[in-house]
Amino acid sequence: MTISTKRMVAVAAAATALTVLTACSGGDDTSSTDSSTGTSTGGGGTTLTDIAVWDPYPQHDESSDWAKYLQSCAPEGTTVTRTSAATADLLNNLTSAVKEGNAPDVVLLDNPAVPDAAVSGLLASAADVGMDTAGFDANLAGPGTVDGVTYGVPIGANTLGLYYNADILEASGVDPLTITDWDSLNDALAAVTAAGHKGITFSGIAGEEGVFQALPWFWGAGAQLDDLGSDQAVEAGQLLSDWIGQGYAPKSALTDNQSASWDLFLTGEYAFAENGSWFAKAASELTDFSAVAMPLPGHVGGAAPAPTGGEFVLAPLQKKDAEAHYANASKIIDCLVGADNQVKTADALGYFAANKDLRAAQVAADPIWTPWATSIESAQGRTTDLGPDYTAASAALSTALQASLNAAGDADAVRSAFEQAAQG
């Protein structure tokens, strides 16, 4: 090889390296799926054959009921590509995808994130998409409407309840039917711990998950999200703080998420667990002990208003071929939450149908749902009152709750934490 050939090769190699680098610099978002690839132009307008759906269910793999059901929703001649991400990441991923103009056709967002996404301009309204938004229970559909505009509908709903270990309660001489308010719950906790068992597990982790778990006590005390410094709010914080201080609840509640606190309950050492309806099926299949669910009690009795959980089906804003994207989105959404299909979707996800009549049929078909029927009806949307301001209120409440749990019963510390939260 002559010297000049060597040089040529070197320059070529360098140039190749350069091109590769430049090619890598574009499209930094690995999680986004380009949905505009399979374009075919028909007579009337553009139709798209690839439909992208994003969901926050990484736990459901491709062989799950949910994935199979979603695939079966693809209209003829199209294919559905499903991408899953953790709840906390999905909104950020969606933000960059809308910016890049490659948003998915359909996205399933956790309900408290909907107002934030809507006011940031990430979502197309239900009217633009041609979505049917009628027939959903008002308390469950609430988070989908922001400033009078409806963006989407619930894919289903879940909520929180109080599980108890029937074996421990029986051995400690506690009748679950007597637990109707906070005082009787505290009496029961005193009785089981006196009998050598542990009390209650709940998730007090910083952030939305911990707030979700605290809201039944917060609302059950009569507190409102727009007044975090009220006496009722302080009472709710004090209840949880005392559980730590009295040793009824584990100190790890401070960092436990809902799965971790459920795992603690599964050890069979704890008498109670505050946790979600999504564990109802697992609870019914336990063999070590008998776990039963009941509604969470309010401060002075009755079922506490628990927050509604679950995702909303939404169509993100499209910059290109919007009509074709929305046409596909509305077909998928109809397949997921249309009246004939709601129960199928809910069953695939372990959720409740978001329509009262359909839910009644669902509950009647499976006895494990019976104790949850009242919980879901008295549940309320987290963002219904505050809309997009909920995110900041939740952050303030989370800080106050963390401080309350740290206080381990110290009443002054709990009060000052909530007063500080009220000031923002």
Partner: protein
């Protein structure tokens, strides 16, 4: 945390970059084929530096001077605010607390890691049966994924049933609530020290291999004991290696997010500038409110601190060479 990572890389890349960009003086007059080839070889490096360091750095600083919200991504509207966001961040009640916590975390981690690493390196200098196996075992914290070690520390520090409190119970000490707001900083610092010792051990140990044995032989002939040998030979001879170990350790510790996040999510006293920036940038932790501009401000502050440390290191190195 790309904006924090780049800070360390930029500091480290600076000297090498200067070495390689030097163009032979003759080539300036007429561009020869060899010069083209040289440029061709330099180009990938330049592109690499611009795309992966300069551009993100520029974006980070630019973001800190504009008001970014989630809606900015769709509308493109990010009004220029000058230093307003800097003022807001520095005036916020969290800022100085976080700076103090970061300082404690970095200084305590660095000092204990260095002393521990140095002691172990000196211990392993003399080989004895199984010494290499034992030394390899000390590397385990470094090799283990942090998600594993972080979660394990969280379990061990569990207030009710953690193994740490059980040990304390054996010697009659009351259980400690390791991960509560007051103790969180101490807990994450302990875990971080454990993580950092192997790094210090490896670098200082290899530095000790470069010290000639003759020095020790001569010293022992003169009657110097082990302690005297350490302070008069090992420690001074290790000074350049110690400087780079401490600089790297400083930059690594300053930008630690993972171990803290896994153990406490940066709650209570364990919030450092790095975890604060992370939680604001991505809406993680207590607040899901996105604060891109505020996060960029904290990122830029971290960057400046790391840069300053880089210059301190360069100055120290120059002084050493002049001697």
């Amino acid at each position: 945390m790309w904006f924090v990572k780049t800070s360390s890389a930029a500091v480290l890349a600076a000297p090498t970059e200067a070495d390689e960009v030097v163009v032979p003086p003759r080539a300036r007059r007429r561009i020869r084929p060899t010069t083209w080839a040289a440029l061709g070889f330099v180009a990938p490096l330049l592109v690499y530096v611009v795309v992966l360091y300069a551009y993100p750095l520029y974006e980070n600083v630019s973001m800190s001077l504009h008001r970014f919200t989630r809606a900015t991504y769709v509308t493109g509207e990010a009004p220029f605010t000058g230093l307003d966001v800097y003022r807001e961040v520095i005036a916020s009640p969290q800022f100085w607390t976080t700076v103090r916590q970061t300082t404690v975390f970095v200084v305590v981690s660095l000092v204990v890691q260095y002393v521990g690493g140095l002691a172990l390196a000196a211990f392993f200098r003399r080989s004895f049966p199984l010494s290499s196996l034992l030394r390899a075992l000390f590397l385990v914290p470094w090799l283990m994924p942090i998600i594993v070690s972080g979660t394990t520390w969280q379990w061990m520090m569990d207030a009710d049933s953690g193994v740490l409190n059980r040990f304390l119970g054996l010697v009659g000490i009351d259980p400690v609530w390791w991960l509560n707001a007051d103790h969180a900083l101490a807990s994450v610092t302990i875990a971080n020290i454990w993580l950092g010792i192997p790094f210090n051990l490896v670098i200082l140990y290899s530095g000790m291999q470069g010290i000639p044995d003759e020095l020790y032989e001569a010293a022992s002939l003169d009657g110097a004991g082990a302690w005297r040998q350490f302070w008069s030979i090992t420690f001074p001879m290790l000074r350049p290696v110690s400087a780079i170990t401490l600089l790297l350790g400083f930059v690594y510790t300053l930008k630690v997010v993972d171990i803290i996040w896994i153990m406490t999510m940066g709650t209570g006293s364990s919030q450092t500038l790095a975890t604060w920036a992370y939680s604001m940038a991505f809406g993680k932790g207590s607040s899901a409110v996105i604060k891109y501009s505020e996060a960029s401000v904290v990122g830029t502050i971290l960057l400046v601190v790391a840069l300053v440390m880089g210059f301190v290191y360069l100055a120290a190195q120059r002084r050493q060479e002049e001697r």
